[in-house]
Structure formats: structure tokens, C-alpha cells
Amino acid sequence: MSDQTTAIQITGISKNFRGTLRGNEVRALVDVSLAVNHGEIFGLLGPNGAGKTTLVKILLGALRPSAGTATINGHDITTAAARGRVGFLPENHRFPPYQTGLQMLYCFGGMTGMSRSEIRVKADGLLELVGMSQWRGTRVKKYSKGMMQRLGLAQVMLNDPEIVFLDEPTDGVDPIGRHEIRNILLDLKKMGKTIFLNSHLLAEVESICDRVAILDRGKLIKTGPVAGLIDVRPAYRIETTGLNVETAQKIQDVYPGAIIDDNRIRVTFDDPLQVNGLTDLIRECGVSLISVTPEKISLEESFMQLIRESKQHE
């Protein structure tokens, strides 16, 4: 424990995968640096293929970085000690199909150094917590995706970890399961655990994360608190009748961000008062307005916007 406040310190991590063809290397991560504090819920957000799984797999020793270093609890990730007080729920995991839920806890719990009696004491409560008590004696191969995810979460908490890594924990889980998983994460947060959450769903991270980093095609675009990360700009939905092509073209020229579909216009402004300019323009062209409805741009859309902007900058 060199640094008491930093749970995870990532310094200049890059990862290149050799492609199937010669020369077509995949740059899955490009010089990623970030720090996660103790007790923090940290969300790593990005579209599919951004490199989130790659980063977590590097931290937990499944992948070797092409460059850079990282520490967990002050231990270099190349040492087994870094994985000592850690829980991990991998993406698309397949637990050994021949094990029952309880046997799975014995096997993976034992590998963290726990004794059988320690596991026995904790397993009951955890299986109860994730709602898997009645399936404890059933083989994993008969589990649904949601059941696997619940068992996976019980496994994550088994060794009382300080830091928990979750890679798309609600993937393939039904809405009720999602809600329950979210509650479990909130419980973990109350217990003071550090959580590193990978997700491609903004809604999933915004409700529970303290801080978020956005990753796109291997690069960190932004890091910060959820609120400040994504600016919520006012948007308006305008309905007209008889919107002709020329008027639509004029609107598009003045407001390049406007989305025009038949008689409906959707546009985002930096300042809410700008909507007056647009309605004036529409009237000048002799088109009648039916309604002007203000609308809050959703976080999801701002997130997509941010990703689009980062693409344009290249």
C-alpha cells in the first residue's frame, strides 16, 4: 500500500493485438492513464469494441500490456499480490459447466486462499443475497444467462474484496434482473467497496457512478464526474404543416445540427432563446407552426454526440 487513496493507478497502458493478416494490427488501447480512488464507483463507458474489456483483462492479469504499467492497491499488476483483495465478474463468462453453484464458489473461492469452512460460512448468505439459494445444487450448465450473472456476483463478493471489477454486469439480463443487480451494486457501494464498472450503457453507469471515463477506439476521451462530463443542452421539437424542400434547406443551412423529418424538426441550441430565431425563419417562409416543445437531450444522446465529435476530430 504505497498510496492510501489510489485503489487503481493506470499509467500509459497500450495494447496491440496482432491481426490475422500480416500488418493489420488492432490498437485496442492507446496510452491510457487514469486513477481510481478507494471507495469510488468508477464507470468506464464506451461503445462496443472501445477497449473496455481489454483494459480490465490487462488489470487482472489475463492480458499482457504492450506498454505501460498499472497498480492495484499499490501492487504492480504483474504480481499475484495485486489480485489479492479483488473480485472480478468477466464479460461473457462461462463457469465450469460440470460444477454446481456451490461447488463453483468452493473452487473459485479456494483459489483466493479461503479455506472450505470460511467459504461454507459465507456462501449461504451470498447465494441468498443474489437469489440463487434454490439453485445451489444445480449444475451451472443448466443456468440461464441471468442465473450465471447472479452466481458470478456471489463469487465476486465471496472473498470480501476491496476492489470489484465488473465487465458489463447486466448484459443479457432481463429488466428485473438488471434492477436487482443495480441494487447489489448499491449495497457494495454502501459497504465502501471500490467498484470499477465497464459498460456500454450510459444509463447503467450514470445512476450509480461517482466518476466516469469515456473510452472510444482505445483512447480515453474524457474523465470526470457524470454531471460535468456530459453537458445537457436544450433541444426543441417543432411541428409544422406544409414544410417544403426550400424551407427545409434554409433551416438546414442556418442550423446544421437540425434533424428534419417530414414536418417535424428537431434541433439543439446552446442557448434556449435561440429557438425564437428558428420560429421566425419558419414563419418568414410562409410555413405554419403547429407546436414548439422543449425537450431535454438525453444523456445517452450526449454520449453518442461526444463519440461522434471525437471521430470528427481525427
Binding site: F17, L63, R64, Y98, Q99, C107, M111, G113
Partner: protein, 265 residues
């Protein structure tokens, strides 16, 4: 210790769930039945094993031949039974969680090897001892030298498994591991008779190539020669095959650890 026990438990569960166990059981049952029935065979109205036609020495020798064949066959089955274990262990979605546990990769793979080895030789020992007991009780031939043979079969299995393990880590395919094993076993069995073709090879560099290949490769077929002499009480006959095979296995085991240590999963 807890970590080793957890990995042992996992290996045990996985081997227990496989269909191979039924096959081992069936083979053992057939052998036991044969030895229960064979002594009832009558020659000229006299029971074969009570007539004194067969001396105890002959029975021991017969037993040596039997077990030599039996272990050859049982280990052949075990190649099939164990080749897919490691590729399955390293499968996508399964190995990531294992690697995230606080165990170094070298230790993890060594423990995986050791635990599969322990479970497999326990099965082998159980099958062999039950058959041995059937023979001993029915024929009255309590050959304690059988145990030398049994321990030696463990050693042979360790060598076979090191090879299958190596190809399993390298290719992540159980089928390739089985094929690789047979290709190597077959080539060394052929190479053992390389002197037969020396006459046709005028060029001496060919002899050097064949000779070197023979020296380096594991001689699993030839190791089997030792079973008969061990049970008959004559000690080892082919120690050269043993040492060179052990050296080969030790080197590929280290190589397996190194490859595993650097791999991305």
C-alpha cells in the same frame, strides 16, 4: 494449501463428470471377470491352476505380461481422457476468472498439471489394484513386485501427460493434443528401428538426423519394455529410454510454463 486443494477439487470434479470414467470402470470390470472365470478352466478334467502345471514363476511372468499390456492400454485411454482437459480449462470465458485469482501463472499451471496427474493416477491405481487383487485371490499369486510396475506406470503417465499438456497449451485443442501425441509416439517407435533402414541410406548425414531425432524425442513405447522386467523382478531393462524421455518431458514442461506465462487470454 487452500489454493492447491481448490484446484484439486476442480480437477476431480471435471474428471468425475467425464464419460471416460465409465470406460475405465468397464475395462476394469471385464478384466476382473476374466480373472474370476479363468481359473475354472479345466484341462484333462483338472483345474488349470490347481494341477501344478503352472509354476509360480510362470504365473508371475504371465502377470507381468498382462499388466504390461494393461497399462499400455489404460494409458492409451488416459491420453484421450486428459487431452481435452487443458484446452477446456483455457477456454474463452473460463480462464479469465481463473487468471484473476492471486496465483502466479507458473504456479497455477504447475498445480493444474499436478492435480490432473494425481486424480488420473489414483484412478489408474484403483483399477490396477482391484485387478491385482482379483488375480492374487483367485490364482494365489501375491506378487509385490507388481507395485514397482504400478509406480513406473505413474511415471510413464507423467511423461505422456507432459506432452499432451504442452500441445494443449500451444494449440488449445484437445484433438490436436491427441494427434500430436500419437505422431510423436509413432515416430519414435519407428525411429527405434532406424538401423533397419541404415543400409539403404548411403549418405551418413541422414543417419545423423535420424539418430538425433531418436535421441531427443520421448521414447514412450520403449518405456513400456520396463514393465515386464520390473514385475518379474529383473529391475529396469531400458534405462536409456527412461532418462531421455524424462529429460524431454522436463524441458517441454518448462517450455509450457514459459509459453503460458506470456500468453494473452
Amino acid at each position: 494449501m487452500n489454493k492447491f486443494r481448490a484446484i484439486l477439487y476442480d480437477s476431480f470434479l471435471e474428471i468425475k463428470s467425464g464419460k471416460m470414467l465409465y470406460l475405465y470402470g468397464a475395462v476394469m470390470l471385464i478384466m476382473v471377470l476374466i480373472f474370476i472365470l479363468v481359473p475354472s478352466i479345466k484341462i484333462n478334467g483338472e483345474n488349470l491352476f490347481e494341477s501344478g502345471i503352472l509354476s509360480p514363476g510362470m504365473i508371475t511372468r504371465g502377470m507381468a505380461h498382462f499388466f504390461s499390456g494393461f497399462w499400455g492400454f489404460a494409458l492409451f485411454l488416459m491420453v484421450f481422457g486428459s487431452a481435452w482437459l487443458l484446452p477446456a480449462y483455457l477456454g474463452k470465458g473460463r480462464i479469465e476468472l481463473t487468471l484473476s485469482k492471486p496465483i502466479s501463472r507458473m504456479k497455477l499451471l504447475s498445480m493444474k498439471f499436478a492435480t490432473v496427474f494425481l486424480v488420473k493416477i489414483s484412478i489408474l491405481a484403483l483399477m490396477s489394484i482391484i485387478i491385482w487383487l482379483a488375480i492374487a485371490l483367485r490364482l494365489g499369486a501375491f506378487s509385490m513386485q507388481f507395485f514397482f510396475g504400478l509406480f513406473f506406470s505413474f511415471l510413464v503417465f507423467a511423461n505422456i501427460y507432459a506432452l499432451v499438456f504442452f500441445i494443449g497449451v500451444l494449440s488449445r485443442s484437445g484433438a490436436l493434443a491427441v494427434m500430436g501425441y500419437f505422431v510423436i509416439k509413432f515416430s519414435t517407435d519407428l525411429l527405434a528401428g532406424r538401423e533397419l533402414v541404415y543400409g539403404f541410406l548411403g549418405d551418413s548425414s541422414w543417419k545423423t538426423v535420424l539418430d538425433t531425432a531418436y535421441q531427443i524425442l520421448p521414447k514412450i513405447g520403449e518405456m513400456d519394455d520396463n514393465y515386464i522386467s520390473l514385475i518379474s523382478g529383473d529391475g529396469f531393462t531400458n534405462t536409456y529410454a527412461i532418462w531421455t524421455t524424462l529429460a524431454f518431458s522436463a524441458i517441454i514442461f518448462l517450455l509450457t510454463l514459459l509459453i503460458f506465462h506470456r500468453r494473452d487470454y
